[in-house]
């Protein structure tokens, strides 16, 4: 493990040789891949901006997902999971009267979250390009049926 660089001096950690007997080494975890619902929730947070909290994120996710009805509990569970992964962060804002004097929990994307969302968007773009190549540009029309490959 690399030592901490202290610009103003200070101690640099020294590895104790006693600990290297049967040392189990874990590699750095790779960037987490996002499920489809996680991508929707992250996009919703981005869309909502400063007003990203449970109710608005849920409404945005329902809009983004199309006709599907989305459970509020599923949104909360996904927000918790994303926060545990370090992709978003949250804080409790001031209470408001229309919420019975209760606070909102606001969310925002962290840099890791932005990076993961961008990766997902690039993957989706590559998929779209491949589908257009196979099925033609007309696939985005609702009435179009993809032609079978002969």
């Amino acid at each position: 493990m690399r030592p901490l660089q202290c610009p103003k001096g200070g101690h640099i950690s020294r590895v104790d040789s006693h600990f290297y007997f049967l040392y189990i080494v874990y590699q750095m975890a790779p960037q987490p891949s996002l499920g489809q619902f996680e991508q929707l929730v992250l996009t919703a947070i981005l869309q909502c901006g400063r007003k990203a909290y449970g109710v608005t994120i849920h409404e945005a996710v329902e809009t983004l997902s199309g006709a599907r009805s989305v459970s509020l509990g599923a949104v909360y569970a996904t927000l918790d999971r994303l926060e545990d992964k370090g992709l978003i962060s949250s804080w409790l804002a001031d209470p408001t009267p229309e919420r019975g004097g209760r606070s909102k929990r606001h969310y925002r994307l962290e840099s890791d979250g932005e990076r993961a969302l961008r990766e997902s968007a690039l993957t989706a773009r590559r998929m779209c390009a491949a589908l257009e190549e196979a099925w033609g540009r007309g696939i985005w029309s609702a009435k179009c049926t993809p032609a079978r490959q002969s």
Partner: protein
């Protein structure tokens, strides 16, 4: 004026929502309120996933698994009885502890040590679940009643063990937030003091437990018939426990961060302590599991050596070792991941400052 849900319905829903999510979930449900029916549907559709998410965040499978295996072994006092007699109350007590953790109020600061009062409540909840099982079994299914020895010896021993296990660990939600953000000096020192208190208490409890094990081996040597196997088992187990106590005292104690240091120096000292705990977590196999397993291994092979067909006992012993080792390694691996993530966050914080 925005309509409010009926007080009675709101109170019921409020009780069911875990405290850590209560504020914002109740606020969101209140904001979306249109009618009592809509409110109830919204709440009861959301609750299972909210509770499941809370259980996922607070669940420590390794620690819970060790507690469950220990309880099962203590309740399985009578040989020849159906193993389900011990397994079912064990599952009930474990499920109760899982829900207890999910419904615990979140700690206000990172690395908040578990108070004795809360640990005692945890013990009360688990014991209460077992006695509830006994009451139900006595009324409806007497064949599932726990034997007297399990009640008189197993449960009290389990309660003492559970109390110290709960006291040793920080509260389930006590780890700092996953995102790397700037921290103030006060926030850092609050976290540092909390970490030091929790680590020192955990080490004291583990050293204490090692000495209790040594004392148990000495009493066992005095009480048991002086056979070679009994002497070897007790001596090796006591030796292993003494080694663990020595190692913890010599190599695992953290040096408290001095007051009055600059932010970067405090950060560096704290990081060093985290690295020490991370190395302890990574090397748990050789300084903790192996020394404590030597005594039971001697006992297992000693008994197997005297049997005509040793394989059943050897297989059961190996399976037992695998389960315990697996749970402990998993527990320490989870701690190591959290420690490593916190070290990376502190590196990012140091670069920002």
């Amino acid at each position: 004026m925005h309509p409010r849900p009926p007080v009675v319905i709101e109170s019921i829903v409020r009780l069911l929502v875990p405290p850590a999510s209560r504020e914002h979930v109740m606020g969101d449900l209140s904001e979306r309120y249109r009618s009592p029916r809509q409110y109830l549907l919204d709440a009861f559709r959301s609750l299972p996933l909210i509770i499941a998410s809370r259980v996922r965040r607070t669940l420590n499978i390794g620690r819970l698994g060790v507690v469950a295996v220990t309880l099962f072994m203590l309740l399985s006092a009578n040989r020849g009885s159906n193993w389900l007699v011990a397994a079912l109350p064990t599952l009930l007590a474990t499920a109760t502890l899982i829900l207890r953790d999910a419904y615990r109020a979140p700690a206000s600061t990172p690395f908040a040590a578990t108070e004795s009062r809360l640990a005692a409540i945890d013990v009360g909840v688990a014991a209460g679940a077992i006695f509830l099982w006994q009451a139900g079994a006595s009324l409806f299914a007497p064949q599932w009643l726990l034997p007297a020895r399990a009640l008189s010896v197993g449960i009290p021993v389990f309660c003492v063990l559970l109390f110290f296990v709960r006291l040793q660990a920080p509260q389930p939600t006590a780890w700092p937030r996953a995102s790397a953000r700037a921290v103030s000096v006060d926030e850092l020192m609050t976290e540092v003091r909390g970490f030091e208190a929790v680590s020192q208490r955990a080490i004291r409890i583990e050293i204490g437990a090692a000495f209790v094990l040594v004392a148990g081996c000495v009493v066992s040597l005095w009480a048991m018939p002086p056979t070679l196997l009994a002497t070897a088992f007790n001596a090796v187990t006591a030796g292993g426990a003494l080694f663990v106590a020595w190692f913890l005292h010599r190599h695992a104690r953290i040096e408290p961060v001095r007051q009055g240091l600059e932010f970067v120096q405090s950060l560096a000292s704290y990081r060093r302590n985290l690295e020490l705990q991370l190395r302890r977590a990574h090397t748990v196999l050789w300084w903790y599991l192996a020394p404590l397993s030597c005594g039971p291994a001697v006992l297992m092979f000693g008994i197997a050596h005297e049997l005509a067909n040793p394989w059943p006992i050897v297989m059961r012993g190996v399976a037992g070792f695998a389960v315990i080792w697996g749970l402990v390694l998993y527990m320490y691996r989870r701690s190591a991941e959290k420690l490593r993530r916190r070290i990376e966050q502190l590196d990012a914080t140091a670069q920002k400052s």
